[in-house]
């Protein structure tokens, strides 16, 4: 790692941490609203309005974390930004089209004439699905070292489906927390059905990652490093088990523990993310470019860091304020 008092060492590390944090927050937050978008296809019409209402005040801010993550990749690791996005050109373009469709469908569906509403509901579902699949595909390709072979594409396609399922799981748990009555019961069922694919996807990535890269294999299975890594799979296993148990019992009287599945799923995402971060550090482009090689000039990183240290706490505070304002069970959205 080198000398931590040297800005060319600690600045890239700090920015990799900030970027990772943004990606993690994005995946959890936009994960639940993308998941709800995909679940729209199995919901009744009146349920769709309530599902949308539960994410209405948040989705825009949720997606801003993606802009921050890509922005940090762009500004802190400019060469990696070019390499990664050029290698993932097609899935990136598909994801963007998906995000465009769902973002605008959100507003159009509430404003167009009633006969057109089903079309925009469908586009909202379709956009969410395309965005989630593309993100999963990119994750799969990234794990495979951004190398386009048939086997890697097949693997990435599998991960695409699993990430979409994982988003549906966290989307369902958000609905369990925000909904009542029948829709809440349905959300419990949805969470149970999608959970198995989430677990399968995480297991597959965990198996594939060390097999693809000898460097990561050594990092995982050498002693004593294996002791440091062990809490991740054990913790994830415990969280999955807890989730299965609590989902069997929900919904409970007086809506007790309705928040718990969301909390557990969020933490599963955190552990999965930590596993990937542990495996790929210090590389930003797998096995090709480290964060130190890809970093922008220290004076530029310093000026961004100063701004970030002032602004990020403010962002977190007013984001928390927005969640506080729209706390409790979701109600129909209205502008007045």
């Amino acid at each position: 790692m080198g000398d931590l008092s040297d800005p060319t060492v600690w600045l890239p590390l700090v920015f990799a941490g900030l970027m990772g944090l943004s990606i993690l927050i994005y995946v959890v937050l936009d994960g639940y609203d993308l998941g709800i978008g995909m679940l729209m296809i199995v919901a009744e019409d009146d349920e769709k309005d309530r599902m949308i209402a539960s994410i209405g005040p948040f989705w825009d801010a949720n997606e801003t974390w993606l802009v921050l993550a890509v922005g940090l990749l762009l500004v802190a690791f400019p060469t990696a930004h070019g390499t990664i996005l050029t290698a993932l050109y097609l899935p990136v373009a598909l994801m963007l089209i998906g995000l465009i469709l769902r973002g605008v469908a959100f507003d159009f569906r509430a404003k167009v004439s009633p006969p057109r509403k089903p079309l925009w509901n469908f586009l909202f579902f379709l956009g969410s699905l395309i965005a989630a699949l593309s993100q999963g595909f990119m994750l799969g390709m990234y794990v495979m070292g951004l190398d386009w072979t048939l086997a890697h594409v097949a693997f990435a396609a599998l991960i695409a489906c699993c990430l979409a399922a994982a988003y549906m799981t966290i989307g369902s748990t958000w609905l369990i927390y925000k909904m009542e009555d029948l829709l809440q019961k349905k959300a419990v069922t949805w969470a149970k059905r999608t959970l198995i694919f989430t677990a399968f996807g995480m297991g597959t990535i965990s198996l594939a990652t060390p097999l693809v890269s000898p460097r990561i294999f050594d990092k995982w299975f050498s002693f004593p490093e294996i002791l440091a890594l062990a809490p991740l799979p054990l913790g994830a296993g415990a969280l999955f088990l807890g989730l299965v148990l609590i989902l069997r019992k929900l919904p409970k009287d007086k809506d007790r523990h309705a928040w718990l599945p969301l909390f557990l799923t969020g933490n599963i995402f955190v552990l999965g993310f930590l596993g990937l971060a542990y495996s790929f550090y210090p590389y930003v482009v797998p096995d090709k470019l480290t964060i130190y090689e890809a970093a922008a000039a220290p004076e530029s990183l310093t000026i961004i860091l100063i701004g970030t240290l002032f602004v990020l706490p403010a962002i977190l505070i007013y984001t928390a304020f927005a969640y506080y304002v729209f706390r409790g069970k979701a109600t129909d959205l209205s502008y007045d």
Binding site: L66, L68, I303, I315, V325, S334
Partner: protein
């Protein structure tokens, strides 16, 4: 078609689509704040009628701007990897500050502004509205700072072929930045005022005589009449600034081939870059010299000065810049005529007439046309440079295969074309719906004071 041209067309299509919506939301945020404050001052419910109608259009426009903006942040990397490699140390912090200081602010408080009316106090709601308007303007500030730096770069030095910042104040407040920022903010104000006037006139044509619609119409027309002369003056200053720092761009705008005095103002021509002359030229003698130098004998640089000895052309393509500039100025003059006439006509509480309403409807999206034409003038006028004197557009392009760019380009175009149609159709639909809900010449449908009496639940 080669990959660079395709990458430019794709990026150009994206950024053209994107700018339409910030152009609306930047100024509309402030207009909404004005409606709220006017209500707070007067207690007249017509202001809240106007607010609740226009906040819907704000929400829709904002969503369109957000999703197309996300696309932009990726296309910097997919289309122009050389850009961040060469000038990432400058562009990076400016973009980062935009995301940190503006995006989150607008995104988070937008939720409260749109859906929090019955959940927070009126004061907090007004503050949220202010923060959204403020956020959109801060966003414009950073992005214009970066764009202007690319036009007129200062405050940096090149080390090993990579730009390094030496003076951040000089980078942000570079020579063309204040002019471009003012010009763009005024363009946003004009776009919004004509949109408000146009849609209100459309509602009027659908027999909407509600006070809320009338006050919006009056606001739109009056705001346009105030802003347009300011914009013409600011645009003139911006042009003089461009003449000083980017003479090749002005030469292309005026289609002036040779450096000379007594340059005529070309009203129409077809510039021919092959023969390097204007065909079918209609011009006012000494006009360009008078406008640009305030002297009929003023010497204006010509395009032929920007051709290297080996024949390499270092000036922008002339015809697109020349025509785009004329479209912008033409729309601006139409805006002046319409807004002043309409303000005069509506004086002392006079009502609209159908023919005037149709003119206003026709001008509803004139701001978009002028804004796009203005951006084409300045962006094509910057070619062949991406960052003047530092990086050419060709150098910044990626080595993504042309076929891949072409296929994604077509996909984007299909989506964007569909969305533009849906956007305008929805604007018409919500206007029509609003008109139907308020029949009669004097609607007395008002808001109950303390609107929280009708909770969203």
């Amino acid at each position: 078609m080669d990959a660079v041209t395709l990458a430019r067309m794709q990026f150009g299509a994206n950024i053209s689509f994107h700018i339409l919506f910030p152009t609306i939301t930047i100024a509309l945020g402030w207009v909404l704040l004005y409606f709220k404050m006017a209500y707070a001052r007067s207690g007249d419910s017509k202001w809240m009628d106007a607010y609740f109608f226009w906040v819907k259009i704000f929400a829709l426009s904002f969503a369109m701007g957000v999703v197309s903006g996300i696309t932009m942040s990726f296309q910097f990397g997919t289309n122009w990897p050389g850009y961040m490699e060469r000038v990432g140390n400058i562009a990076g912090p400016l973009l980062a500050y935009e995301v940190l200081t503006a995006f989150f602010l607008e995104a988070v408080f937008l939720g409260i502004m749109l859906f929090g009316f019955s959940r927070v106090s009126n004061r907090v709601h007004t503050i949220a509205t202010f923060l959204v308007a403020f956020g959109t303007t801060v966003s414009a500030f950073w992005i214009i700072a970066l764009n202007s730096w690319m036009q007129t770069p200062t405050g940096f030095e090149m080390r090993d072929g990579v730009a390094h910042a030496t003076d951040w104040f000089a980078i942000v407040f570079n020579p063309s930045m204040p002019y471009r920022l003012v010009h763009m903010l005024l363009a946003s104000g004009l776009t919004v005022s004509f949109l408000i006037a146009g849609l209100s006139a459309f509602r009027w044509l659908r027999s909407d005589r509600s006070p809320g619609n009338r006050v919006a119409l009056k606001t739109g027309v009056t705001l346009a009449a105030i802003l347009i002369p300011v914009q013409i003056y600011a645009g003139d200053l911006h042009g003089l600034n461009t003449l000083e720092h980017q003479p090749a761009k002005v030469a292309a705008m005026e289609a002036n081939w040779t450096t000379q005095s007594n340059v005529p103002l070309v009203l129409f021509a077809i510039p021919d870059q092959e023969t390097r002359e204007n065909k079918f030229e209609i011009a006012i003698p000494n006009g360009a010299s008078l406008i640009l130098k305030h002297d009929p004998d003023g010497i204006i640089p010509g395009l032929n000065d920007f051709v290297a000895a080996d024949g390499t052309i270092n000036h922008p393509p002339v015809a697109p810049v020349f025509f785009a500039f004329r479209i912008m100025v033409g729309v601006g003059l139409a805006m002046l005529a319409v807004s002043w006439f309409a303000t005069w006509y509506l004086r002392n509480g006079q009502d609209l007439r159908p023919w005037l309403a149709w003119i206003l409807v026709g001008m509803a999206f004139s701001g978009w046309i002028a804004t796009l034409a203005g951006w084409y003038t300045t962006e094509i006028g910057r070619q062949p440079w991406l960052v003047t004197g530092v990086l050419t557009t060709t150098e910044a392009a990626s080595d993504v295969a042309a076929g891949m760019i072409a296929s994604t380009f077509i996909a984007y175009l299909v989506v964007y074309a569909g969305l533009i149609v849906a956007y305008i159709a929805t604007l018409m639909y919500v206007s029509d719906k609003a008109a139907k809900q308020t029949p009669g010449a004097q609607s007395d449908k008002g808001y109950q004071p303390g609107f929280s009496s009708s909770p969203a639940e």
